[in-house]
Amino acid sequence: MFEYALSFMIFLPILGGLALLFAPVGRGAARGIGMGIALVVLAMGVELFIGFAATGEMQHVEHRPWSTALGISYSLGVDGISLLVLMAGAVLFPLVYSVFTTREKGFYANLLLVQGAMIGAICATDLVLFYIFWEVMLLPVFFMIGIYGGEQRLPATLKITIYTIAGSLLMLAALIYVGVTHHDQFGFWSFAIADLSALELRGGFTAIAFFMFMVAFAIKIPLFPFHTWLPDAYTEAPTSTTFVLSAIMAKIGVYGVIRFVIPVFDLEFARWAMLLSLAGVAGMIYCGLAAIAQQDIKRLLAFSSASHMGIIAVGVFCMNVQALTGSLFQIAAHATSTGVLFLFVGLMEERAQTRRIEDFGGIAYQAPIFATFFAIAMLASVGLPGTSGFIGEFLIILGAVKFSMPIAILTGTTLVIGVCYMLWMFQRVFFEQAGERSARFEDLKPTEALAFLPVILLIIGMGIFPQAFISKIEPAAQQQVAQFQSSGQSKAAATAQATPSRLNHQN
């Protein structure tokens, strides 16, 4: 792995996308280019993963000072916490290009842009840099939904954009506050997460800043009750965009909490963990219940995705090694299962020209291969042992038990709730008598089957040999938790004799 690998992975797609935007090429060529770039990134991702040393340190670090006056720097790095998220962002993209062949040039360009931006957000270790990528990755989504979306796309677009940008701008204020506080305490400007984690935030505004961060991430994840943009956006967006949103972008929200909020706001985080985990659980149950009432498969999956994100968030808020590792693992697992499910729905829409559940039926007989793949992905998403979904959920529930029994019990109900709507949907769509729309439902073509096969195998492989992944992320999780607990105690002690000067210094 060469030195500027991460920058390369970030800017190859971005530059490729820009080039596509301006180059006069046909859609076929555009798709080819996108595919090629995605494959290159995939290869690099895999190589990075294989070469990744199972320690807690940052790897492939790059550091360039950028705005010296404010200590903003262009610094990248990967550690166990970001590894799997990065994998999700790097590995899954070729699917999109191989499955959806009938898009315009601009669409592929936007896909490339969003991939680069997301990888950037994942790899950034400087808060401002992260923020920049974080904002940038919304724009392609905005255009993809708005230009290529469904009938009701305009309100959906406006909603997701305003909603998300509102959150991120609040975060902007908060992160500047953090940086300024760092300048006050240590006398030099820096937004590097390593420096900021040494902060001792106090005073009235700290809690507000904490919640500004949390709201930004909660909207992206989305956490209850900030999820209301999600159903419309996921439903109206073109399937590949939905895939990007649910499989990767939402995960970056969780990742942001782990990477930035916990180290900086450890005291506040510890103080509010219970409330936050309640929000996560509430979202899980709420969206799970809402899913059962959906008539539209995509919408149902949207709610189920939100529901699972609630679980992942709970794993973070429990803040012990098992739960955290579980969440990190589940991030990848959920990316594979739910992402693939969305792609499958896209295929069904292309074939049957409908998304309404009652229009389908009996597909299992028309398309056994498709049905099998779908079933595997679905079982993974309901967390069946032997699939990728189980490990994460089990670890999260295990950790939740340590954190608080009521939370754990509520978290556990996902085992039941998830199964309910999924089986209900599976029955209507794949079993029973074939509807007239699905009467001659075409099975996966060999190319499609080959495109999906790796992911299906990945789902099973992650379920049977999870240690290959966990061994890489676990040290970082250990370290994170250890830091959190130690610094939490020390700062708690320090708060005990907080000097009044600092208190009134805050405002």
């Binding site: 219940l289 809402a290 009432a293 042992p385 038990v401 966990i470 250990q478």
Partner: protein
């Protein structure tokens, strides 16, 4: 030694490989052309037979070892390890699991063979065998797993397969609904299981999370936590083994093909709960309260199911309720810490219940998928093999000495009595009578008397050999396996119990011969009374009775399904609808929409202020000016 240990992890692999093979074959070919059934049959049956063979090897090997260190464990790889949590994908063969292993593989193989005949001509022949193999593999993982988490893999796997097989005829909505019900109810139990396991880990799991280490650390368990763990685990068992309040799925599960009912919903899967409790005997003995909860739930389930069984008209439903009832017995057994008795009943029950189901299957097969006993009758002459084998099974089930059912049931009731659970014993005896009654009601109505449907009767005949041979084998088993655990009073010395002893922590009470005799006598008496009544009522082709009063209530299964539906299912769906249609837009999203509307409103207001008259603009300026002057004039002394 080492090689034998390695065999253990091979055993589940054979069926799984078979499942994969047949599944892929079917998946890729079913659209284009139909492969010969013989191919699927061979592929499907090799796996179980191989595992049966290796199971025997392992068993023999264990037998050759001294009783204390009779366990073989093999750990292919570490499954996942996070912090203190270390979960190996490891397999353990000790007396308990080896016994389960034996009869699971044995009966599994038989039923595979039987299915060749039963499923002949079905479009999804290959799919069926793939599922059946998958199930067997999962069941073996469940049995062989060396720790709770690995067990959970099999635990959920068998649940999945039971879902797939119950909704096998998935063109018919009701079958699929039955499958969903089974899966969901099982999931409720699994929730308990997972929570229990997690709790167990935080309590004593840090020093290794397999049975042996847990057993070693079990003493360090606080009572509250321990009881919670036991009850949560038992919730899981309730789901899997159809105990109150989660038994409702099992009768519906009869929607699946009959071999499935025989294998999964009678012989093996449903007994997993009992096996699990026995596995955790080292916990349950520590906390007798939890044990007695288990026992009482079990015996009450037995009673309830027996009552329901009295009034069923569907031959498979009758058997299903009897299964639930027998499971209740088993839990009563393990509940009163008579683990070997419970397991032994599992063992015998596997034989005679499988036998009964397969026989019923033969009958249904002969009657062209007619399952209503009130449409049958007098089949004794038409299908003697089926009749005699089923008679053996029925006798065993009813607990007729000296058949297998008698000994195992007697062992349980005796232990209950001996360990002072008199109430449980009394209920048990009553249930024994009921069992005898409804079992022979079925036998008499189906096989004796006059045919009620002449047309079907004329075409009825014994099934082909591929189906009858397994029946006969099972019948022999059902007759004789009881002697494996012959109590001392009959001159035996409880081989099975002694065999199981190393892996169970239980104490055998030493009570007077009188108690033992009393137990035996009561059992026999109950059996006799039950059969006598059944004989009087149904022997000579009684007409279908009209159920009134309590009978009607029982005929409708106390309306439990209806109640569950009204209390859980409907509210759940309604709630979902309310949330997504009303709550989401009107409440959660309200602030967002409201703020947007306010913003627009304010915009229009300010738009209206731009009147376009320059003088008005000047006035705005002056207003601002004067307000600011007010603001400033405070700051001047």
């Amino acid at each position: 030694m080492e090689t034998t240990a390695a065999y253990i992890s091979l055993i589940p692999l054979f069926p799984l490989a078979g499942a994969l093979l047949t599944g892929l074959l079917h998946m890729f070919t079913c659209r284009s052309r139909k492969l010969p059934e013989s191919l699927y049959a061979t592929l499907g049956c090799i796996g179980p037979l191989l595992s049966l063979f290796f199971a025997l090897v392992v068993f023999v090997h264990l037998k050759g070892m001294p009783a204390e260190e009779r366990f073989l464990s093999h750990i292919p790889f570490t499954w996942f390890a996070v912090g203190d949590l270390q979960v190996d994908m490891g397999f353990l063969a000790d007396p308990l699991s080896s016994l389960m292993l034996l009869f699971v593989t044995f009966i599994g193989s038989l039923i595979h063979i039987y299915s060749i005949g039963y499923m002949a001509g079905d479009d999804n022949f290959g799919k069926f065998f793939s599922y059946l193999n998958l199930f067997l593999g999962a069941m073996l993982i469940l049995v062989l797993g060396n720790g709770p988490v690995v067990m959970f893999v099999g635990w959920e796997g068998v649940g999945l397969c039971s879902y797939l097989l119950i909704s096998f005829y998935s063109k018919d909505r009701d079958n699929v609904l039955a499958g969903n019900k089974a899966f969901i109810v099982n999931r409720i139990g699994d929730l308990g299981f997972v929570l229990g396991v997690s709790l167990l880990f935080w309590a004593i799991g840090a020093g290794g999370f397999d049975y042996l280490s847990l057993q070693a650390n079990a003493s360090g368990l606080a009572p509250a936590v321990g009881i919670a763990v036991c009850l949560l685990l038992f919730l899981g068992a309730c789901g899997k083994s159809a105990q109150i309040p989660l038994y409702v799925w099992l009768p519906d599960a009869m929607a699946g093909p009959t071999p499935v009912s025989a294998l999964i919903h009678a012989a093996t899967m449903v007994t997993a709960g009992v096996y699990m409790v026995a596995r955790f005997s080292f916990l349950y003995v520590q906390f007798p309260i939890a044990g007695s909860v288990v026992a009482w739930v079990g015996i009450l389930t037995a009673l309830l199911a027996a009552i329901f069984g009295l009034f069923q008209r569907d031959i498979k439903k009758i058997l299903a309720y009897s299964t639930v009832s027998q499971l209740g017995y088993m839990f009563a057994g393990v509940g009163v810490a008579a683990y070997s008795a419970g397991i032994f009943h599992v063992f015998t029950h596997a034989f005679f219940k499988a036998l009964l189901f397969l026989g019923a299957g033969a009958v249904i097969y002969a009657m062209h998928h007619q399952q209503d006993i009130w449409k049958m009758g007098g089949l004794k002459k038409k299908m003697p093999k089926t009749y005699w084998t089923m008679l053996v099974g029925a006798l065993a089930l009813a607990g007729c000495p000296p058949l297998s059912g008698f000994f195992s049931k007697d062992e349980i009731l005796f232990s209950a009595l001996a360990k002072g659970h008199t109430g449980i014993w009394i209920v048990g005896v009553v249930v024994a009578g009921l069992t005898a009654y409804y079992t022979f009601r079925m036998i008499f109505v189906v096989f004796h008397g006059q045919p009620r449907d002449q047309h079907a009767y004329d075409q009825a005949q014994d099934a082909p050999a591929v189906m009858t041979v397994p029946l006969i084998i099972l019948a022999v088993g059902a007759f004789f396996v009881g002697f494996l655990n012959l109590p001392g009073i009959f001159g035996g010395h409880l081989q099975v119990s002694h065999w199981l002893a190393p892996s169970l922590t239980e104490s055998h009470p030493h009570v007077g011969i009188g108690v033992e005799l009393l137990a035996i006598f009561a059992g026999v008496a109950a059996f006799a009374i039950g059969i006598y009544i059944a004989y009087r009522k149904f022997n000579e082709g009684a007409p279908e009775p009209e159920y009134q009063g309590f009978a009607r209530f029982g005929y409708h299964k106390f309306y439990v399904d209806e109640v569950y539906n009204a209390v859980f299912v409907q509210p759940y769906k309604a709630f979902g609808g309310v949330i997504s249609r009303i709550f989401e837009p009107k409440v959660v999203d309200l602030p967002v929409r409201l703020s947007a509307r306010l913003y627009r409103w304010g915009g229009n207001a300010f738009k209206a202020l731009q009147v376009g008259y320059v003088r008005v603009y000047a006035i705005y300026m002056v207003i601002g000016l004067s307000l600011m002057s007010l603001f400033l004039s405070q700051s001047i002394n």
